[in-house]
């Protein structure tokens, strides 16, 4: 008789969602996290889309420690001196209030508490050392020489899936599978935030940028408003960083903060925290075998995340994969069968949802996000076009077609190259 029906390793969004799902279905659940309290090791850009969370915690919008709901979403392109921004502000966001900025060190302890309330045993401050195996089956976890057993272990260990790798459940991560996220929290009074970004006491703004001001690096950046702070940071693909080889990750975020369109937004603010976290960006190609005898893999550890250079999501994939793994475990318990065949249901469930659908639909997205022109050339082209159109310099005006031609020539971009780039962007995004 195992000690528990299920052990969940990692009390992030995926792990706690799995624990809540299983405990509310009557399973005995042990949720272990290496941080005390849970969440103190976790870091996200900070926008949480909570559609899936509502499945297990219908009152999350009232109960969870949320910062601001996203009312205003911006997509921006930066060049050395300019910023080109699409500002999408909609009543639809305000009516639904599904997207919120969060701070994980506040949000995650709340979610773990919900797992405890649902009946899970939550043990913080313990780093699980390895997975216990018997006859090729995962039978539990090991720590300080003790083995704690369960019918199924749910691996929600995050972007550093050390246990999975050591147990041979997945390959070590490669450059192309991850980006390095570097983040700062800048303290700013609610009054300043609301005045500066035209917000009300509960509404917030989330911006994502393409940093076209960096030479030879495809880096994205983000800027989100919290109650009394700003979350900002950069996301740099490991492949790009290695190829470049001369740029410190900690300097890129400074370049973002010092950009002429960003610096005034954080003026008067003070840095309250600096941190970093890797982001899964390998898409379908990095997803390991998601289940086997006695185990399932969820969240970042499974490579679930979405990024197309303009949109960056992970927490929603974490919730949904955690919930589906939890449901699968409950059904496996009903059949009293935790074999690989029985847990294959988890993958089938994922196939039916946006988690695996998105990863399949956008399986070639890295060819867009990895395209240097998208980051360095096209923002500059846009800038040139807008300068031609919007800046009166006492020169004869040109037709758009001529502007395009001359800009492309200035930037040394072939028309065919531009046309194929846009064609592929169109196909892959």
């Amino acid at each position: 008789m195992p000690d528990y029906d299920a052990i969940v390793v990692g009390a992030g969004n995926a792990g706690s969602a799995a624990a809540i799902t299983m405990a509310s279905k009557g399973l005995s659940v042990l949720l272990v996290d290496r941080s005390d309290p849970p969440g103190a090791k976790n870091l996200s850009g900070g926008v949480l889309w909570g559609n899936d969370l509502a499945q297990i915690l219908p009152k999350w919008q009232n109960e969870a420690p949320l910062e601001r709901f996203i009312q205003d979403k911006k997509i921006g392109f930066l060049t050395d001196k300019s910023s080109i921004i699409i500002d999408f502000k909609t009543k639809i966001f305000e009516d639904n209030k599904v997207g919120h900025t969060v701070l994980r060190s506040k949000f995650d302890p709340w979610l773990a508490k919900k797992a405890k309330e649902a009946g899970a045993v939550v043990i913080p401050g313990i780093t699980v050392e390895s997975l216990a195996k018997k006859d090729g089956k995962i039978i539990g976890v090991e720590e300080s020489g003790d083995v704690i057993t369960a019918d199924v272990v749910i691996l929600a260990e995050g972007i550093n899936p050390r246990l999975s790798i050591e147990a041979g459940l997945r390959e070590p991560l490669q450059d192309w599978e991850v980006s390095v996220g570097v983040k700062e929290i800048i303290k700013l009074s609610p009054q300043k935030i609301e005045d500066r970004f035209n917000l009300t006491p509960n509404s917030g703004m989330a911006s994502e940028y393409i940093m076209g001001n960096l030479e030879e690096l495809n880096v994205g950046a983000f800027f989100y408003t919290n109650k009394d702070s700003i979350s900002l940071g950069i996301v740099a693909p490991m492949e790009q960083l290695r190829e470049n080889g001369i740029t410190h990750t900690y300097d890129i975020i400074e370049q973002f903060k010092e950009h002429p369109s960003i610096a005034p937004l954080i003026e008067g603010g003070t840095v309250a925290e600096y941190g970093a976290h890797m982001i899964p960006e390998g898409g379908l190609g990095m997803v390991p075998k998601l289940y086997g005898d006695g185990y399932m893999i969820v969240g970042d550890a499974a490579g679930f995340g979405f990024s197309n250079g303009l949109v960056l999501q992970g927490m929603n994939y974490a919730f949904l994969s955690g919930i589906l793994a939890g449901e699968t475990a409950a059904e496996a318990k009903g059949r009293n069968n935790f074999s690989s065949d029985s847990l294959a249901l988890y993958r089938q469930k994922l196939e039916k949802t946006y988690v695996l659908k998105d990863l399949k639909t956008f399986k070639d997205i890295r060819k867009v996000t990895g395209n240097r022109s998208m980051y360095t050339t096209y923002p500059k082209m846009l800038e040139s076009i807008l300068l031609e159109m919007l800046w009166e310099r006492g020169q004869p005006k040109k037709k758009i077609r001529e502007i395009l031609g001359s800009c492309a020539a200035d930037l040394n971009v072939g028309k065919l190259k531009t046309a194929t780039d846009f064609y592929y962007m169109y196909r892959r995004m």
Binding site: D3, I123, I126, S144, I148
Partner: protein, 260 residues
């Protein structure tokens, strides 16, 4: 077999406390609660005593209901039982009623061969409570100890005294206060933490203790905080070393004939 108690306190992590530049009061709003650091050393000392001489360890704290997490952590290190002394009437206690209440709990639990405490707490730094418990219980005591041995019914302890060490032998029962960094505390283990979680902690209120309300909590506290001032950091402000204040105190003490 030694019957061992460890008296511990949950305190705000000193790293998380800042001084509000406007109100000059301590800002604890962002503070995480931790076990008072020397209390962890005291628990380690207890576990070492148990390992060598056999025994049973009870960790005891007085605090709000959420302080049970501190007890569970120390039970994860190897303590056998946790006792949470919690009651609204105990709130607001200074060191006198705290020592009185904890001594009453120790008595209620049948007394101990040895009671270990941290040398002082990081949130008030008085070092009163350990000696206070010893006085209320009528136990022998040794303070600022970094090494404890148990031989033929006596505790041989090594005390830190300014710039030197002192080895003394005290009888049983005793209260021993343990210094910060006296030892290298072991980590809690998963198995022990789970066992602690299953066992839970024993709650003790004033229903069980029946202490006179005038002697406990805020009512039983003789300390009155008249004023609080922030002193400029002497390192950053070498021109204001705070010596003047000290001189004033000394001259008042001389004036009143308290010191000569």
């Amino acid at each position: 077999m030694l019957k061992i108690a460890v008296m511990i306190k949950q305190v705000p992590d000193s790293q998380d406390i800042s001084i509000d530049p406007v109100t000059k009061t301590l800002n604890r709003s962002m503070a995480r609660n931790v076990v008072n650091p020397p209390d962890v050393n005291a628990t380690e000392a207890a576990v070492q005593l148990k390992d060598r001489y056999g025994g049973e360890i009870t960790v005891i704290t007085m605090g709000p209901p959420m302080a049970d997490s501190a007890l569970l952590q120390l039970m994860g290190m190897g303590a056998d039982n946790g006792v949470l002394v919690t009651d609204r009437v105990f709130a607001g206690a200074d060191t006198w009623p705290t020592a009185f209440t904890l001594a009453s709990v120790a008595d209620y639990l049948g007394g101990f061969d040895v009671i270990l405490c941290g040398e002082e707490t990081t949130d008030s730094s008085t070092g009163h409570v350990g000696p206070g418990i010893a006085e209320f219980m009528g136990y022998e005591q040794a303070t600022y100890v970094h090494k404890v041995e148990y031989e033929n019914g006596f505790f041989v302890v090594v005390r830190d005294i300014e710039g030197a060490e002192e080895t003394i032998k005290i009888g049983k029962p005793a209260v021993i206060t343990i210094t910060l960094n006296a030892n290298d505390p072991r980590n809690p283990t998963l198995k022990r933490k789970i066992a602690a979680y299953k066992k839970g902690v024993k709650l003790v209120t004033n229903k069980e203790l029946q202490l006179d309300p005038a002697c406990i909590g805020l009512k039983g506290s003789p300390t009155i905080v008249k004023d609080m001032k922030t002193v400029p950091d002497p390192v950053k402000n070498p021109s204001k070393p705070g010596i003047e204040e000290l001189d004033k105190i000394v001259s008042v003490l001389i004036e009143r004939g308290i010191v000569k």
